[in-house]
Chain length 732, copies 2
């Protein structure tokens, strides 16, 4: 149990018994009232004013990886943690990080235009005119000097190229312009490169991210005509982290491959631009009119191009090795110091980063401050807390990945869970991650009050989901239970290596949905923007501190770490049902589609003036043998339905073993063609990037019609689920 220093705690505790009684149960705890009292004391230590001051202070200057400001910020964080009573240190890696040397984009025909490539300072935004800003660019673009006909490829998704093929326009030897949205930015040049493009421009269309969405900055929150989304285009779905040191920590002396050998870097130049710069290029395009779902909000007719409009794109970069300063703070557990509850948020930003990452980081620091204050009062966590502020997240999860790779063996032994956050804003509670933690998330969320509406987080989320649901049936279903299903995690923040490389149970927590705007990765992600539009009053900063803090404290203090594998079983069972239905519906759709193609119905239906060829017919979908997976799930059903890891059953085998159960779901060989990703349930999609694919080995093989691989992967996943069942069985 908790070590307490005095009767003062007992006295304090007594005051909260009524609350504890109201609270029926708390997963993993014998004494829910005591833990509830701790959480109440924790909450009292939090200050939204202080969170606001932290956001202002930490976003005061541009602080990207490798910058002097970034290094100073890491030092500042160490001081803060220490002042809270934590041990803290910097762990530095040496990583590749490209910055722009030359950036030229110009239209060379039929008229000329030279792109501005610069966001102007605004008097309404105090930090927007500072020195030290990284220019607008996509990190990990290749160096290149290319000129070619320009082709508009919509969002640059694989299916956009399928449509393009029907128009007869080929991007080979041409430069594509894709808009931000629908897929992760890095997928756009990757798919373009696969199709033979020699360069890629990515722009923010005002439809998704500008005046169509709402008033533009500084009048409103949305992207003005000059705003540009910076961002990494490293192919993180192959692996994140330093491209030169895959699988190992990028310590100063680590063995490094040559940049040319890196398997997650592009071969073509890529540049992000504003809609001010995109408009003249898009307006100059000829060729067919873009179909309806390709159209944006610029005031002219969108054409696909591929003809006379030509652009010249010249980009070169400084390919430097830079120090990557992770800040690691520790508070030693009183009972199980070798069990670590890890909490992290990155500290590097593309520019000032008030929202991304500082808003999440400020909440994390506030938690650390409150926990430190309790610690001084003798309220100590049973398990060790490790609070991390990662560097180099923006270019490709560099800091967290290198740290995880370096400490992999120790983490697999000690890490109970990893709780991540990143940018945070106003709105609804979002949680995604390991489904064995879903019950914990629900228990935590049910007891935290939304600051705008004074109902608990579950109810606020339910209200929103119900109103947004499409049908009466969907609304009723969502209304039936005050419960939230947590999402599955793809990529895009620092949980990736913990969960997907090591199998450490992970969560990503945050608030959002009412904080929409266009500041993301621009110079306008500033304190001025944040305090006006993202979380005025910093109420949701404090609420994130509560949600993440309670989650951390329960994981730290529970007699039996609060995992619920029954929920994991139910979720995975749902995924498998989806896969079975996916093959059925693909089979049916393919048969029909091939029939329509054979009947010439595309030619017959389509306006001849559109010169749109029929799509090609597709391979028929075989019946796959899902039985090994279904039997594995039946077994997991049986095992998890009789699991009884209640707090009273706490014993060393359970306590030492339960948090490692998720590691059973790893497959050491990794996913086909991307071995770094070892979790058989969750991975970022090969073509979706940040977007998750669940049971990715099977799902992507089916989606991409690789039937032999799909069948083989069914066996791989079944084996991993069987390992989990056997593992849980022996813990009983």
């Amino acid at each position: 149990m908790f070590s307490t220093n005095s009767t003062s705690f007992l006295l304090f505790f007594t005051c909260f018994t009524s609350l504890a009684n109201a609270q029926q149960k708390m997963l993993g705890f014998k004494d829910a009232a005591r833990q509830a009292a701790i959480e109440q004391r924790f909450d009292k230590e939090l200050s939204r004013t202080h969170i606001g001051e932290t956001i202002k202070s930490l976003s005061a200057k541009p602080h990207h990886i490798g910058s002097e400001n970034g290094a100073a910020l890491a030092e500042d964080l160490v001081k803060r943690f220490r002042s809270y009573g934590w041990d803290a240190k910097i762990e530095t890696y040496q990583v590749l990080f490209p910055t722009p040397k030359e950036r030229v984009l110009e239209m060379t025909g039929p008229t000329t235009y030279k792109a501005v490539l610069k966001e102007p300072a605004l008097k309404e935004d105090a930090t927007s005119g500072q020195e030290g800003q990284l220019p607008t660019y996509n990190a990990w673009s290749a160096d290149g000097d290319v000129e070619g006909s320009l082709v508009y490829v919509n969002f640059g998704l694989p299916e956009d190229y399928e449509y393009l093929a029907r128009t007869g326009i080929d991007v080979k030897g041409k430069i594509v312009i894709a808009k931000y949205g629908r897929s992760w930015r890095g997928s756009k040049p990757k798919v373009a490169q696969e199709h033979g493009a020699i360069g890629c421009i990515i722009y923010s269309d005002p439809k998704e991210d500008g005046y169509y969405a709402g008033d533009v900055y500084p009048a409103g929150a949305f992207k003005n005509e000059f705003g540009v989304q910076r961002g990494s285009v490293m192919d993180i779905v192959i692996h994140p982290g330093d491209p030169l040191t895959p699988n190992v920590g990028a310590t100063a002396n680590a063995a490094r491959i040559q940049r040319e050998q890196a398997i997650n870097l592009l071969k073509i130049p890529v540049l992000p631009i504003s809609y001010h710069d995109a408009a003249p290029l898009l307006k100059a395009l000829d060729g067919p009119v873009a179909p309806d779902d390709w159209k944006g909000a610029l005031p002219f007719t969108y054409h696909i191009g591929g003809g006379n409009a030509k652009v010249h794109l010249k980009l070169s970069f400084n390919w430097d090795i830079k120090p990557c300063h992770n800040v690691i703070a520790t508070l030693k557990g009183s009972e199980a110091p070798d069990q670590w509850v890890i909490r992290g948020n990155h500290h590097d930003a593309w520019v000032n980063g008030a929202a991304d990452p500082v808003s999440g980081l400020a909440a994390l620091l506030e938690e650390a401050r409150a926990i430190g204050a309790l610690y001084k009062q003798g309220i100590k966590p049973k398990r060790t807390l490790v609070y991390c502020a990662w560097d180099g997240e923006e270019p490709g999860l560099l800091g967290s990945t290198e740290w995880v790779e370096e400490h992999a063996a120790e983490l697999k032994e000690k890490a109970v869970a990893y709780i991540n956050s990143d940018n945070n804003g106003r709105g609804y509670f979002n949680a995604s991650g390991s489904h064995a933690l879903e019950t914990l998330v629900n228990e935590v969320a049910k007891e935290i009050i939304d600051p705008q509406t004074q109902v608990n987080l579950l109810e606020r989320k339910q209200a929103n989901d119900v109103l947004k649901a499409g049908s009466v049936k969907q609304k009723k279903d969502r209304l039936a239970k005050l419960y939230m299903n947590i999402g599955a995690m793809g990529s895009g923040s620092d949980y990736s290596s913990f969960l997907q490389h090591l199998g450490i149970p992970s969560l990503d927590l945050g608030f959002g949905g009412e904080d929409v705007g266009g500041e993301y990765h621009s110079i306008y992600d500033s304190y001025d923007d944040y305090s006006r539009f993202k979380d005025p009053g910093f109420y949701y900063g404090e609420t994130l501190s509560k949600a993440a803090g309670h989650t951390v404290l329960r994981l730290a203090n529970a007699e039996v770490a609060p995992f619920d594998f029954r929920r994991l079983y139910e979720t995975v069972n749902g995924y498998v049902n989806e896969l079975v239905e996916l093959t059925t519906s693909m089979r049916e759709a393919t048969l029909l589609e091939n029939q329509l193609i054979a009947k010439n119905y595309y030619r017959i239906a389509t306006d001849t003036a559109k010169h749109l060829a029929a799509p090609g017919s597709k391979s028929l979908v075989p019946y796959l043998d899902f039985s090994s997976l279904q039997n594995a799930l039946a077994n997991l059903d049986s095992v998890t339905s009789s699991l009884s890891f209640t707090a009273s059953s706490a014993n060393a085998p359970v306590n030492k073993g339960i948090y490692k159960a998720e590691q059973q779901l790893l497959n050491e060989a990794g996913l086909p063609s991307r071995s770094w990703y070892k979790h058989t349930l969750y991975a970022p999609g090969f073509y979706t990037g940040y977007g998750v694919k669940t049971i990715p080995g099977v799902r992507e093989a089916i989606e991409q019609r690789r039937w032999t691989e799909a069948q083989q992967q069914i066996g791989v996943v079944a084996a991993s689920i069987n390992r989990l069942s056997a593992y849980l069985q022996q813990l009983k």
Copy 2:
């Protein structure tokens, strides 16, 4: 049988027996081969070149009702019909028709702007600079001189005002600006007036009708920034036709009410404008940002307004009585001269009207020419053909309505069917109307070849429907049968009074879907536009002549007029099932919605920064007694399943009676609050205008939550269906 003048016909006929054999059956005919041969000869007479010449000639000058050009065009039509061998005359009515005296629209605050209100002549459009064009206006706007705060009301639908109420913005005493689309234009000022607005502006947003849709005129077919859609805002859902002579023909000496007594005229001024003129007004609006489904394609953030932006709207009109010249051409039937097959298309246009109405009129004339040529060869219709070219359709179906009202008694006795067309273009075959004619339409369409794809009209339509269907199931269902369901008719063309006032079986036929553009009711609806974008080569003009001509010829020549009441039964049965499901789903949705309101879920879910109130709760939906209607349908099922009006059963009672069966579906009292509309199955929707409501008495009472009326109307419709069943039974 047909009277033929010689053996030449028999010789000719022999050549076509193989075709006739291929054709399994033809509803109402003993000898399908003979009719098929006639249709083949008819087709040979058609010339698409001639149709193109007709379109060019008849659209050479602006020719609205009351204009000298319009009168001359009517004379020209008489000459044409006579030259084809038809009797032809002009029947003139004296109708009210307003034309603009003064039109002023200006923004008076916070900045100033004076609207252009003028479409420029274009060198690419030969007729666009002519004298005699009607200015841009909405006929039947009230005179008015108003100034007020401007409110953007999206499409101006009732539900848009429900949303507006949630924002706290009231249009009372203000001027609204609504965009064209979703509802008929006349509904927009009507709903605005119901909510207390003092003026209404209607504009064409580039999203629906401008550069967002495609390249703009003259580069492409879509609306350029100055294009304006003229059009009537008479409340035709109350009644169409001359507002001063409801229910009676507007002959020179007819009794007239005062204009102030007219029940289908607005009390507020209305003006249509271009997006060039709308942009400064919309850009000046303040207040809340418009929700997503309100946003258009102008390059700024749409706001709802209701604040500082003010406009001044001053309109006055010449309220003149004008002659309305219908052209009526007759070809006497050889066997049943007192049975009339009526075919019509209007001849008046807002300006030049190459598409609307000349494209349909040219096809009609070509049919008349071909039928006249056959007649001279001795191939005469058994029933009398009446071919009509209506005047005054544009301001409110004036010519056809006055003619139908004047000749009502004779028409109810003699009219077998009315076949309408209007503007025609490239694409898919569309047919709507009386469902007892659905089998005929299918039989006709199956034997006509689409000129672009060389498959029959049913197959082309099926191919398009299948590709556009949302789900694999919907695609498969549509693919299962080579058949088209015809639509139900609302309003918007000259069939209205035939079908909905008199119960004369009617059809509206045409082609479209690939002829999209922005010329509708503008000066750019010209021959230059039409021949480039709507039907280059006039292939679909010829195809419409075939489709309408074959339909007319079968109705004229069948031993038993080709009605299939089984299809009517099946369709109406579907409508009744829809109504039952509608009450069930409304009941369920209302219960849930009221529950969500009671739970405060709108407040809880909604961003507090949006200041959006919850909607009001709604009256619960009672269980209605549909049994009288269901029993009536069971009876109609029984009667129609044993109907056998085959050609061989032809006898005088059947032949004289069958075409009057649809009149049994009239209810003499008419619809609640709009007694002119007497058909119990089909009417234009009270708030949709052109858009149909089927079983309107019941459906609109349910939709508008008038439960007592809904119950009463169920009885009215049941009685009409029982009359039909009894009538069909006695014909057996």
